[in-house]
């Protein structure tokens, strides 16, 4: 699998889009630090961007790479290589190269600014970790869609739709349900609803770590009570892990049944 991973990784690393993605984070990192003049404020701004952007880029890159490398895949399928090796190798290749753009792109400006001397190292690490998790999750989801749909337009449409529903529509429905049922106790409901969506879960994890949960009011207190404990952190981590492993297992399953 390592050979395939290597080829996919280099293939993407050499492509123009990975540089654009890397440069985007680099410029963003420097610009935010310059404008805010504070590491912690920059992290808060970055959070809002990363939470929405990494899933989107993961989705688009994932689906684009798998459709455009179909020839390569067919070539590999006729070689003495296990099927799951081919697909998992490509999946990890894409995910690693995207995660690398994110980590280096933001890591460089923050290191230059003196992140390591500040107290925000853990928060920054958490930010990058959630970005990496989200990248892996959404690349895996888009690979599944690419395997299920040979029609590129359809596949692209579904992938964007899934991103949109988890990043935007889910929150909308969540807020509407909070308003409709405001007469009932909703703390448990909102806790569960937040944990089921990887994007919301990452956002809350970072917000709570940044100690600005007072902004969230009473629910914030409930969240703080839950996520502040080791149990809460462990549960959230397990949920993110589930979100990133289940689609990978599905890739294996679908790939083994597909005709090429």
């Amino acid at each position: 699998m390592f050979k395939i991973l290597q080829y996919s990784f280099y293939d993407l690393v050499r492509s123009r889009w990975s540089y654009v993605y890397f440069l985007f984070y680099l410029v963003l990192g420097f610009a935010l630090l310059f404008l805010n003049n504070s590491v912690s404020k920059s992290i808060i701004t970055l959070m809002n961007i990363i939470i929405v952007l990494t899933p989107m880029i993961g989705t688009i890159f994932g689906i684009m790479y798998f459709y455009s490398s179909r020839e390569f895949t067919e070539l590999l399928l006729a070689q003495p290589i296990k099927r799951t090796t081919i697909f998992l190798g490509q999946y990890f290749g894409v995910s690693f190269s995207l995660a690398l753009s994110l980590i280096l792109g933001l890591g460089i400006p923050f290191t230059v600014y003196g992140l390591w001397e500040s107290s925000e190292v853990i928060n920054f690490g958490l930010l990058l970790a959630s970005g990496t998790f989200l990248t892996f999750i959404f690349v895996a989801i888009s690979v599944n869609i690419a395997l299920l749909h040979d029609n590129r337009i359809k596949g692209f449409g579904y992938a964007i739709l899934i991103w949109l529903s988890l990043a935007v529509i889910y929150d909308g429905l969540f807020l509407i349900s909070l308003m409709v049922f405001e007469d009932y106790p909703l703390d448990k409901f909102s806790l569960v609803a937040t944990m089921l969506n990887p994007i919301d879960l990452s956002r809350i994890l970072i917000l709570l770590k940044l100690d600005i949960s007072a902004l969230l009011g009473y629910t914030g207190a409930v969240f703080q009570k839950f996520f502040g404990t080791n149990m809460g952190i462990l549960t959230s981590f397990l949920i993110l892990l589930t979100w990133s492993t289940v689609p990978v297992l599905l890739i294996k399953r679908i790939a083994n049944k597909k005709d090429f």
Partner: protein, 235 residues
């Protein structure tokens, strides 16, 4: 040795292969013929494990191939359409496949034969169809494997390369290899094939030598013999 037993494959509701059984236990050139959509490529891709049949068993050298992959070490495959990653260079692609298979390859000799030296540093996306097909041929013939499967090898080749291709196939045959070829060019079949497997609507309609097929249909040329079968069957 290739052994296929009651192979069935449907794509959606379309039956492509129906109870196809075939046994190839000797060396030589076997031409798989049949009209468009008769299931030639599906049959080949099933042998390679790229298409997964609903029912039936395929054995290569005595072992059942479902969910296996190491057996592909003994097969060289030439796909019907030469499609490669566009941003790779020819030399990189050859190096990559050699590296992935971990087998000895005689790519240098083949590159010289097909005069591909000037293209080694070019990206595959910038090559013409014929040149891509030559790269395809190099990738297929560069390993020494007992089974060769060629899906329409003549597509887009110029006459000189076609002669080289015939020589290559002849050489492999002399080395005692089993070669499966699909093609629509009957002259090519007459020159190189030892036996014919004729597929019609997902069934094997005829299996035997070229001479037998001619005798059966009472025609002098293979092209006419095939045409007779097809008109009789109203395909």
């Amino acid at each position: 040795m290739i052994e296929i037993n009651k192979l069935n494959k449907k794509f959606g509701r379309v039956k492509v292969l129906e109870d196809v059984s075939l046994k190839i236990d000797k060396s030589g050139v076997f031409a798989i013929l049949g009209p468009n959509g008769s299931g030639k490529t599906t049959l080949i891709k099933s042998i390679l494990g790229m298409v997964i049949p609903q029912r039936g068993v395929i054995k290569i050298n005595g072992d059942i191939i479902s969910n296996q992959w190491l057996y592909r070490k003994s097969i060289n495959y030439l796909p019907q359409i030469a499609r490669f990653p566009d941003n790779l260079k020819v030399a990189e692609l050859i190096r990559m496949i050699t590296n992935l298979r971990g087998q000895k390859s005689n790519d240098k000799e083949l590159i010289r034969l097909f005069k591909l030296e000037p293209f080694l540093d070019k990206k595959l996306g910038n090559l013409s169809g014929g040149t891509k097909q030559k790269v395809n041929l190099v990738l297929t013939f560069m390993f020494d494997s007992p089974i060769l499967i060629l899906d329409e090898p003549t597509t887009g080749l110029d006459p000189v390369s076609l002669i080289h291709l015939k020589e290559l196939i002849k050489k492999e045959k002399e080395e005692g290899k089993t070669i499966l070829i699909t093609t629509h060019i009957m002259d090519f079949v007459e020159v190189i094939a030892d036996e014919i497997v004729f597929l019609l609507e997902g069934n094997i309609y005829f299996e035997g030598t070229v001479d037998n097929l001619k005798k059966n249909s009472g025609k002098n040329s293979l092209e006419e013999a095939i045409a007779t079968i097809l008109t009789e069957e109203n395909v």
